[in-house]
Symmetry: C2
């Protein structure tokens, strides 16, 4: 019997979607190369001047995933330098995040529904319980940045589709 749990709703989902995102970036890299376009024109692209570029969408998606797993388990996530510029560097960031996520065992995260998590905001610390944090903050944020990365690449003509976003369910 498979049962819904805090682990089931978090770590395997991040792993699945980040794997899809890694494959999407590989397609974008191949597209840029085939068309002879500087790949920084893609990785630095913003959908609006005060929106974040593709690089930051990938940084925040990976930060949200590793930060969520760590907070729910009550451990400290590794800090990355946030200096990725190329598709290869962004792919490496996703790959190391995947290795980190795969290190979590279900029993570290299951039962964390009411565990206190502390978020550091620009406006100060915010304290939430595990379940509302996962469902109302971490997951919506994670999907937001993965989808925005996809939208930036689609808007710039990379031939990807919904199947690349969803992967094999």
């Amino acid at each position: 019997m498979t049962t819904m749990s805090m682990y089931q709703a978090s770590v395997p989902r991040f792993i699945h979607m980040l794997g899809n995102l890694h494959a999407i970036l590989s397609k974008a890299q191949a597209h840029a190369k085939a068309k002879g376009i500087d790949e920084l024109a893609f990785t630095g692209f913003r959908l609006y001047p005060d929106m974040l570029p593709l690089t930051n969408q990938i940084m925040i998606a990976t930060d949200t995933a590793k930060g969520c797993a760590a907070r729910l388990a009550g451990v400290t996530a590794p800090v990355y330098e946030d200096n990725e510029k190329t598709f290869a560097e962004l792919g490496e960031r996703i790959a190391k995040t995947l290795v980190y996520l795969q290190s979590f065992k279900p029993e570290q995260i299951d039962g964390s529904e009411e565990r206190e998590v502390v978020l550091k905001r620009r406006t100060g610390e915010e304290r939430l319980q595990g379940m509302p944090y996962l469902l109302n903050s971490a997951l919506p944020n994670f999907f937001f940045h993965v989808t925005t990365a996809y939208a930036i690449l689609r808007h710039n003509g990379v031939e990807i589709g919904k199947k690349d976003y969803l992967g094999n369910a």
Copy 2:
């Protein structure tokens, strides 16, 4: 004690995000009016010629939410006509979806982890268990279309931010 469950991970999340989306569309409507821009220029906008316009992003987001709740509960969701064009019409579609979602009781959906759900695809029927359907298909799809709607409006200069997307967690 709050416990993660199939209901907790689905219906309340759809209600929360669709409420945020409704407020975002109201801001977009006010923006179009203040600038004297035909609102169909926003609702018909696509981020790329073979992507779906804003109207369809809202249609699919609401369809995914009502279809997910119905499938997990083993009932049949209402079918909408898909003829919305204006912000007011799209807002009404979200409002009636919210009323429908609010009609579900947790006990209709809890325990549906292994319940068979049938998806009608262009390529035929796909059968999935409730939990993988919710976590790998319904939620990623739902967030995809809500985020794409947001991205279309941001790309067209509507002054909304991440706080509008997340709402009050």
